[in-house]
Symmetry: C2
Subunit: 131 residues, 2 copies
């Protein structure tokens, strides 16, 4: 039981993964968008997503060429994950890098989904090259 917590903290112990998890709290996203939002190379993104997926911190689903990542459905999240995600979201509120990520994310929102607020996975990925 302690080990699960340790695993969780290990997963959080990387800047790229933190950024991924933060972004995902706003809704699902496909890999190509992560590349844009985080401004990091494909390999890096893909590997970290793989890492998170292996450990159950995110779930993936394929839709044509795109793979969409999301946080696990709320009911499937451990209380520890839930608590730490909330804690994380709180901790990064004022962080410059996360703000930048969010800004780029919003741009995608505007370009991709007419739906105000939460993005729709399908819509979001139907315009991978837009913007």
């Amino acid at each position: 039981m302690v080990m699960e917590l340790v695993q969780l903290y290990r997963a959080f112990a990387d800047a790229t993964r933190l950024r991924i998890l933060c972004v995902l709290q706003d809704g699902p996203l496909c890999v190509c968008h992560f590349q844009t939002v985080l401004a990091e190379p494909q390999v890096k993104i893909s590997k970290h997503l793989g890492y998170l997926r292996e450990r159950g911190l995110v779930v993936a689903s394929r839709r044509g060429n795109w793979v969409i990542y999301a946080l696990p459905p709320e009911r499937a999240r451990s209380t520890e994950l839930e608590a730490n995600l909330a804690c994380l979201a709180d901790c990064v509120k004022t962080d410059a890098e996360f703000k930048r990520d969010r800004a780029r994310l919003k741009k995608l929102d505007v370009a991709c989904s007419p739906v105000a607020g939460k993005r729709d996975a399908e819509a979001a990925c139907g315009c991978a090259e837009a913007g």
Copy 2:
């Protein structure tokens, strides 16, 4: 700024250190007592305390032969540390290993300090061999 958070999570990403931090939330403790409470060898304890000290997650003070470790004074704690300590405390409430640690800690309480509730660092270390 992100890196500080990452450092924090790295520090949390070890079972022994988690246990140390949990125990410390009940008050300061000297190394010999950690050995008893966590039931781990001296080197292991000392190294992890060193790790935490280097990164500012705990502070140390010498008193004769003993070295007493404590969480930094509340005002000196970053909001991130504070938040994550709280989150941690919440996450481990029902954990078996932490309960055992706590039980052993309480035994020390009884043996060392007549003061009900919080331990006093000095009193706690005046009886390193008791019990």
